[in-house]
């Protein structure tokens, strides 16, 4: 069964990334498994965001981006075989800052499907409700879907962005430090949402907050200066890491 829990969805093989002459990732090889939360930790400039943005080709927004190696989604080459729009539909991303477009809540959620040509009002309404429910925001906004998204609080905006990504009906969801601008209560809500999403989706969570990775991820990868230092079950990474540098980082001795 291709999509059973634990089978590899995304496979990186000797994946390297440059921006101009600056190398950001050095020959990364790892698998992201179906229905897991893969946590990615590491200090600033460790390459974790480059890693994340490699997975759905958002790196290509930067004209200086170059790559080597392969990334495959269910065995198909993300960069050479698949089309970038298809990749971004199948691999959704939630950015560090809540970035709703300055339109209504509803129009934010339905943006992706509308761009794919979905026009049916009923279908869009159903998608909106399902996505907002899955992002634990439905009850707070169901009576004011036509209010500008900018009127929501920061935490609500971030859950709206999650709902917007869910409306794409993706297979993998990437989170780029999704709680960096949020207070502890909003953070807890977003984390709870991620844990619920794990039942249906494959999640990759880049975070500056090692405790967050410890709380929600199944496996954790430690990046340092563009290299993958260690990848193991989260319990192992935080209790008995094999690499001294991992140990130093998770115990707060640097970074």
């Amino acid at each position: 069964m291709v999509n059973g829990p634990g089978t590899p969805r995304l496979a990186l093989r000797e994946w390297s990334v440059w921006y101009g002459t600056q190398q950001a990732l050095k020959s990364i090889t790892l698998d992201v498994r179906s229905r897991e939360i893969l946590g990615v930790i590491g200090p600033a400039n460790s390459g974790k965001t480059s890693f994340l943005r490699s997975l759905n080709r958002m790196n290509e927004m930067n004209p200086a981006f170059r790559y080597q190696g392969t990334i495959a989604l269910d065995g198909r080459d993300v960069y050479r075989t698949l089309d970038s729009q298809e990749v971004r539909r199948r691999i959704g991303i939630v950015f560090a800052l809540p970035l709703p477009l300055p339109v209504s809540i509803r129009d934010n959620v339905t943006y992706g499907p509308r761009m794919q040509g979905e026009r049916g009002r009923g279908r869009l309404a159903e998608l909106t409700e399902r996505s907002l429910r899955a992002a634990s925001l439905w009850d707070e906004v169901k009576d004011r879907l036509d209010v500008p998204a900018m009127k929501l609080s920061g935490g609500q905006q971030q859950r709206l962005c999650i709902a917007r990504t869910l409306a794409l009906q993706p297979e993998v969801i990437l989170f780029d430090e999704p709680c960096s601008g949020l207070d502890p209560i909003s953070t807890a809500k977003v984390e709870e949402t991620m844990l619920q999403l794990k039942a249906d989706y494959t999640l990759v969570l880049v975070t500056n907050n090692t405790k967050q990775a410890a709380r929600v991820s199944d496996r954790t990868a430690f990046f340092l200066m563009g290299e993958l230092v260690e990848l193991d079950r989260t319990g192992v990474i935080f209790a008995t890491p094999k690499d001294q540098r991992t140990n130093d980082y998770v115990t707060g001795r640097f970074g």
Binding site: M58, F95, G112, R114, M115, M150
Partner: protein, 287 residues
């Protein structure tokens, strides 16, 4: 006790302040004088009939109806040509073209285009549209000439408006699987519309007041009927003003100043509209 040097410094400063203040006051005085003169002299001529009747007695009496309508039609046509072309060029420059010798050349051309004296546009319009394209002296030739004249304004304003849309909107749109054109169409252009409108209105208000570009391309000396199609010549306010001020003897002053006042009100109200629009959208802007 202050020294002589200090006293001289204080006096020099007083003189400098007075001089600078006087210059500033002079600018205001000139504006007030110009507008005041036109309002005082022109106001008696203003009436509904002045705006809606044909000139009579060799333009010595009657109204400015054909010139007013001519100017409005001319301006409308100009927008029709300049807006799509200008916005398209700005979208290309900001959203599609990578920085290269070509885009630098285009920008240089735009800057230079905005420095060309308006009479040169008139001559250009005469040779290209009137003669070469055989549009004749017509609304079409005039509007095309004016459109080329205000293109730099429209392009520059549109470019600025597009650039002021946060980069994150483009990222978000792409991340949701939108194509580049969909991103421009749905996540960039709608948020640049206020800026584009403001720039375009300022461009039009310039076009409405220009005499030289329409002199050879559209303007009729005296035409006691409205143009029937875009291939007809038309009267226009600035040229009409020129004609009745210099070419026709014994015209009552209020006739001239009335025309000037209407033109002034037209241009000022367009500028005011642009300012109000900008203020309104600044206030409503959410990012």
């Amino acid at each position: 006790m202050t020294s002589r040097v200090e006293q001289r410094a204080v006096v020099a400063q007083g003189i400098a302040f007075a001089g600078l203040g006087a210059c500033t006051a002079l600018i205001v005085a000139v504006v007030v004088a110009v507008i005041g003169l036109i309002v005082v002299q022109g106001a008696p001529a203003l009436s509904w009939a002045f705006l809606t009747t044909m000139p009579a007695q060799g333009m010595r009496a009657g109204g400015i109806f054909p010139a007013l309508i001519g100017t409005l039609e001319l301006v409308g046509l100009t927008v029709l040509f300049a807006l799509p072309m200008g916005v398209a060029a700005a979208v290309y420059l900001t959203e599609y073209a990578r920085e290269s010798w070509f885009t630098r050349l285009v920008r240089l051309a735009i800057v230079n285009l905005s420095g060309v004296p308006s009479v040169v546009y008139g001559l250009f319009g005469l040779s290209l549209f009137v003669i070469f394209c055989r549009f004749g002296t017509s609304l079409l030739s005039g509007a095309l000439t004016l459109a080329i004249m205000i293109l730099p304004v429209v392009i520059t304003a549109s470019e600025e408006a597009l650039r002021s849309v946060p980069q994150s909107f483009r990222e978000v749109s792409h991340s949701l699987g939108a194509s580049h054109w969909q991103t421009v169409r749905h996540a960039v252009l709608p948020f640049a519309v206020p800026g584009i409108m403001t720039g375009t209105i300022l461009g039009i208000s310039r076009a409405a007041g220009e005499t030289a570009p329409i002199l050879f391309t559209v303007a009729a000396f005296y035409l006691p009927r409205l143009p029937q199609s875009v291939f007809d010549p038309a009267m226009a306010l600035p040229y009409h003003l020129y004609v009745i001020s210099t070419q026709v003897p014994n015209i009552p002053a209020h006739q001239r100043y009335g025309t000037a006042l209407v033109l002034l009100l037209l241009v000022l109200s367009m500028n005011l509209l642009a300012v109000l629009l900008r203020a309104r959208f600044r206030r409503k802007r959410q990012w």
